[in-house]
């Protein structure tokens, strides 16, 4: 799994690629914790490069939501497609999370 970040005005965009499963999710959680600790308050997680997610990956997503709430921050998601979209839909995450079709839409809501 690969994680890259870039800043757009006051929002940190975190692009994740690869698989989010029981093996890689601990790495995602650790990386995201470190990112949040740097002080930013607005985040967009772009999952366009993620081609597979399991319940472990969803728990990693949930952990990221909790971390952002704990610092009174904002969090949105983009790039949800394919198998990830199917799993988000089945699990109810699609309705629970703030999901946008494009990065532009997500930025507009921040």
């Amino acid at each position: 799994m690969n994680i890259q970040t870039k800043k757009e005005k006051d929002t940190l965009i975190i692009t994740v690629s690869g698989r989010m499963d029981a093996v890689t999710s601990p790495e995602f959680e650790k990386s995201f914790a470190e990112i949040v600790s740097r002080g930013d308050k607005a985040f967009i997680i772009d999952l366009c490069g993620v081609d597979y997610i399991s319940s472990a990956g969803l728990r990693g997503i949930l952990t990221s939501v909790k971390r952002v709430h704990a610092v009174q921050g904002k969090l949105a998601f983009t790039g949800i497609q394919g198998q990830v979209q199917e799993v988000f839909k089945i699990s109810g995450f699609l309705t629970m999370l703030k999901v946008f079709s494009t990065e532009t839409e997500a930025l507009a809501q921040m």
Binding site: D21, A22, V23, Y52, S54, S55, A56, L58, R59, L62, V65, K66, H69, G82, Q83, E86, V87, I90, S91, G92, F93, T95, M96
Partner: protein, 510 residues
Amino acid sequence: MSAREFTKLTLPNEISYLNIAQSHVRLAAEKFGFQPPELGQIELAVEEAVSNVIKHAYDASEQNSFDIICERVSLGMKIIIKDRGIPFDAGLLPQYDPRQVSTDKMPGLGMFLMKNVMDLVSFVNLGADGKETHLSKYLPQKNIMEQFSGQELALEPPAAAAKILQEKIPYDVRRMRPEEAIEVSRCAYKSHGYTFFDSSIYYPERIVELNKSDELISVVAVTKDNVFMGHTALHYPHAGARISELTFAFVNMEYRGQGCLTRMTDLLFSMEKKYPLSGIYINSVTNHIFTQKVAQKYGVNDCGVYLAASPGTWVFKGISEASPQRLSVLLSFKYLEPAHKLTLYPPAEHRAMVEKLYRNIGASHVYAVPEKSEAALPQETSVLRADVYASENCAEIWVDQFGADIVRQVKIMLYDLCVKQVAAIYLYMDLASPAAHFATPELKKLGFFFSGILPQTNIGDTIVLQYLNNIALDYSKIQALTPMAKEIIAYVQADDPHQTAAGTHVQPRR
């Protein structure tokens, strides 16, 4: 059925081996004909099942292993994950509800995903030998409704308006040929809509595959010019079964009255079979009596009723046939060879009815009372198998082995199924085991009540109990043809712990 084709991999119980497990399964699935997105679904189910084993089957410090078996089956693939660790009670896991997702917790999510992406999931407790999770996935195939227009599949008009041939025509009955499967599916839909419980009949490729493996024996009636007239079949519930279901009987409207069903059924009964049968059974819907008439005609007599076995409303691509309640199914049975005399231990409360049902299907056994109650429940762990049928939203629990913990194990399985909102659960116990005599009244305390008997199953002659989960049922809407069928329904209703004075079943959700 052809020789078993499977792969087997044994892996250490460490999460770092997860990707190897998934790669193995993915490659096997590709070989068996699967493509994306089904490959992704299979990988997901395997991860969830394997993660459960790694997290729960053994102590954290214990180095052990588990097996993954990928088997080609006629309709697709079965994956078996086997471990020899601590019994895992799925029913003790909190249940995940996608409608109530919150950031607080999401327990049971893995199990939920696993069950959602596979066609059939079952769990087998093997006692001291551990346990298995069985995951089945069907190859995607085109449903008949995707192959013909609505007009081409329009349900046939009432008989009075149809052009039924008046003259008798010569025709043949024989085993179905693969190229005829599409006509079989089309005729099934035109005559019955989308009401067959087993939706395989609406997939021509599945019909061909099931016939190739002899899990389904289809016979057809055709004119001398090979024009398709009708179909009926024997469907084996599993490999090596001694009994088979007579099912999928239908004839194109214009050829009704030619005696097709009789000739096709006679052929099915008489033809030499690769897997000899000792009996056949019929599941007749009770929203009409036509199938019950067919059963009676061939001497297949009533022996039970499965209440609320399938949805009252089938909705598929916008086609719906509303029914006020879930459909109940009448069970009937016929021996194809004389029944061997058995010693059976029916529960005291139902002994008279069990004897009556056996007489009705032409068998007479020795009905005994176990000698010592303390010897009736052995000390081994019970082995139970649950098969969940997602499209019907019902489940079967088979008691493969009785143990002293039978009631506890059934309770755990029942809880799991109820929280999953399975509507109807049928429990099968071997009547030749004295334990059935003692377990039944204890299971009644959980809410199970009488359903009937089914002889010659893979676990023996069985008593069937049933449990309805949050189902409203009006008994008066169940149509029964024979006096015995009416008596069975009345008996079941009297045994129903939630029947009301108005003749309905009303039970709060667990």
